[in-house]
């Protein structure tokens, strides 16, 4: 049924499009500005004539950064933490969520409470810090001097993600599992060949959550990793920003780029990987959240 748009509907439609355009542009603007400022010439950045598009284009800031060994080091550390952190977190979360989703698990209520209580009450950052220090000592005594592994194992577990997975597993009809068991499948085979394929979108979503929180992780990586060579990218960016002073700016008086541009170039480099994978997974993952998050 095709109806003529009423005046009020038309007004609201126009309002919606306008506001959405404004908000979307606001969301995008800082990133565009960062790119422009990273590749603009020195005087344009320093006197603030870069507003949206780059002026006097140069790539020296990027070149200087790519020539910096510490940058590549930080990048590879971030890749390391993201890769192994996500694998470890998914391993723990999938197994735990699978066991929790089974009605026949004894003390199921207790285990659920054990998990959910950490969402209600957190010890806070100072006790966590003391605890990590103690763990670090134990690790060092065991001969693991690499703080990276501690960060991989100890950080980034989230009860919410396990609950998302558990709900998804609970949604799989138990008849399918029974059929698989009749066919002689073991517990692990059931998980691998029945549950994982059937909850693909939730698994992808949760892996994405873990991966992004690892990629973006800053505070604990900075607190726990004492060796500067092991710092991930986020810590590297932050330290650069903190050490960023007028003196440095003065010292670089003959550079073709402003020292701001280096910071912007760093920011751009840290978000590019997320920007690349983001459009592919965005739809997928909004669906996964809805499927996994609804609990009747």
């Amino acid at each position: 049924m095709k109806r003529k748009l009423e005046l009020s509907e038309l007004i609201f439609k126009i309002l919606s499009y306008t506001m959405l355009c404004i908000f979307a542009l606001c969301c995008l603007y800082p990133f565009v500005f960062a790119v422009s400022a990273a590749i603009s010439g020195r005087s344009a950045v320093e006197y603030g004539s870069v507003v949206l598009f780059p002026k006097d284009i140069q790539f020296e800031a990027f070149k200087r950064m790519f020539g910096d060994n510490m940058f590549w080091n930080a990048y590879s550390n971030t890749l390391f933490l993201t890769l192994f952190g996500t694998i470890w977190a998914m391993f723990v979360a999938i197994l735990g969520a699978y066991a929790l989703s089974k009605k026949r698990l004894l003390f199921r209520k207790f285990f659920n409470f054990f998990l959910v209580f950490t969402m209600w009450f957190s010890a806070g950052i100072v006790p966590q810090y003391l605890n990590y220090l103690a763990t670090k000592e134990v690790f060092n005594k065991m001969g693991i001097m690499d703080d990276k592994w501690l960060v991989v194992i100890a950080m980034g577990m989230a009860a919410m993600n396990i609950i998302l997975l558990r709900n998804a597993f609970e949604g799989v009809p138990s008849e399918i599992e029974e059929a698989a068991i009749v066919d002689g499948a073991t517990e692990l085979q059931v998980l691998k060949q029945v549950y994982l394929p059937m909850t693909k979108s939730t698994i992808a979503t949760v892996a994405l959550f873990f991966g992004i929180s690892r990629w973006n992780g800053y505070f604990w990586a900075r607190q726990m990793i004492s060796n500067q060579n092991e710092h991930p990218l986020q810590v590297f960016i932050r330290l650069r920003l903190e050490q960023f002073t007028d003196a440095e700016q003065m010292a670089g008086w003959n550079m073709p780029y402003a020292s701001d541009s280096v910071i912007y170039a760093l920011i751009v480099c840290s978000i590019v990987p997320i920007l690349i994978i983001y459009p592919f997974i965005q739809k997928y993952f909004a669906k996964g959240v809805n499927v996994g998050g609804v609990k009747e």
């Binding site: 197994l95 100072v126 006790p127 577990m157």
Partner: protein
């Protein structure tokens, strides 16, 4: 598990006397062999319990052991010994923080107030905007245009706090000998919203602007993403509801008022209650990255107060743990209260 004495006996109406309950023997048997029953089950399903172990260990080590460290808030002032070897002194740290009236105590009260205010303003300004955005998304009929809007507005959520804070710092930074001020500062001062001198001194160095910067960057970061859940509720409304309203002569506003709003009210209530429950959980990372000594007046929250005292050169871990203890206990009570209300109000429990 222990059966009461009266459970053994049932009243026999025919004879008028109490006699032993025959089923009690079965119950006794189950009770007596309860742990055997548990053991058999676990032995049969050992793979399932093995799967649970990594998760339990992770949570035990890195979520529950810190709670044990938290007991440091009761210990005698000493930073060296671990909690287990401490003498416990009761509530001296709490008294110190709450009633001492010295600089530390004033700082703590300020931090508590700031924590509450930051999240309260977040609730007032940050909560309605995702709902409004979801209503706008619903107006965009073309799928292509809508996904463009969605991709763009969800995007900032996936940026790290460090990137976000660095961008904010650069956009409102102070002017100096060699460079001009940040572009947003300049824009605002050109519009006449703030004076040139304020803008030139750097907005992040001015306590009056910290809360606004925190909230605006929060909306920029999360509003699009937070609208997902409301948008999902809105598209679940069957089109027939709108058609019925239109036949009754409802214009757009009436449809909003009588069709859309009642349909998404339960979602709104649940989300609101969740927000109220997490009123004392301020994202400390973001505050830590944006504040400095000049803005402690409005920016210092309990976590950052604890961070400075417990992990830097401050009053020590005991004081810090006591501060976090108070914050987190109140926080937990809020969460549990909010969850209870949610369960009563809508029969949906969040946890």
């Amino acid at each position: 598990m222990k059966a009461k004495v009266a459970d053994f006996l049932i009243f026999d109406k025919e004879t008028g006397v109490y006699r032993e309950d025959p089923e009690q023997a079965v119950r006794d048997d189950v009770e007596k062999h309860y742990w055997k029953h548990v053991a058999t089950n676990i032995a049969k399903d050992w793979r399932l319990y093995l799967m649970l172990i990594p998760m339990l260990l992770v949570f035990l080590f890195w979520r529950y052991f810190p709670m044990y460290e938290l007991l440091g808030c009761f210990k005698v002032s000493d930073n060296v010994l671990p909690v287990s070897q401490q003498l416990f002194s009761g509530f001296s740290y709490f008294k110190r923080l709450l009633f001492a009236g010295d600089g530390l105590s004033t700082d703590f009260w300020r931090a508590l107030r700031n924590t509450f205010l930051l999240s309260f303003y977040g609730l007032c300004f940050g909560f309605p905007i995702p709902i409004i955005l979801a209503l706008f998304f619903n107006e965009v009929r073309s799928n292509g245009a809508r996904s463009v809007f969605q991709v763009l507005t969800y995007l900032p959520k996936f940026m790290s706090t460090v990137v976000m804070a660095s961008l904010v710092t650069m956009l409102v930074k102070q002017g100096s000998l060699t460079t001009g001020m940040g572009i947003v500062s300049r824009f605002l001062s050109n519009l006449g919203l703030i004076s040139f001198d304020t803008a030139n001194a750097g907005l992040l160095n001015n306590p009056a602007y910290f809360r606004s910067i925190y909230q605006i960057s929060g909306i920029w970061e999360g509003a699009g993403y937070d609208s997902i859940v409301f948008f999902a509720a809105i598209i679940a409304i069957p089109p027939t509801s709108y058609e019925a309203a239109q036949i009754d002569g409802a214009d757009k506003w009436a449809q909003m008022r009588y069709v859309v709003l009642p349909s998404i009210l339960s979602t709104i209530v649940i989300m609101l209650i969740t927000r109220i429950g997490s009123l004392l959980n301020v994202g400390y990372e973001k505050v830590l990255l944006l504040y400095n000594a000049k803005t402690y007046v409005t920016a210092d929250v309990v976590s950052t107060f604890a961070h400075r005292n417990g992990m830097g050169t401050g009053a020590g871990t005991g004081i810090a743990a006591a501060a976090e203890m108070m914050n987190n206990v109140i926080g937990m009570l809020l969460v549990i209260g909010a969850n209870t209300i949610a369960r009563k109000a809508s029969n949906t429990s969040l946890y």
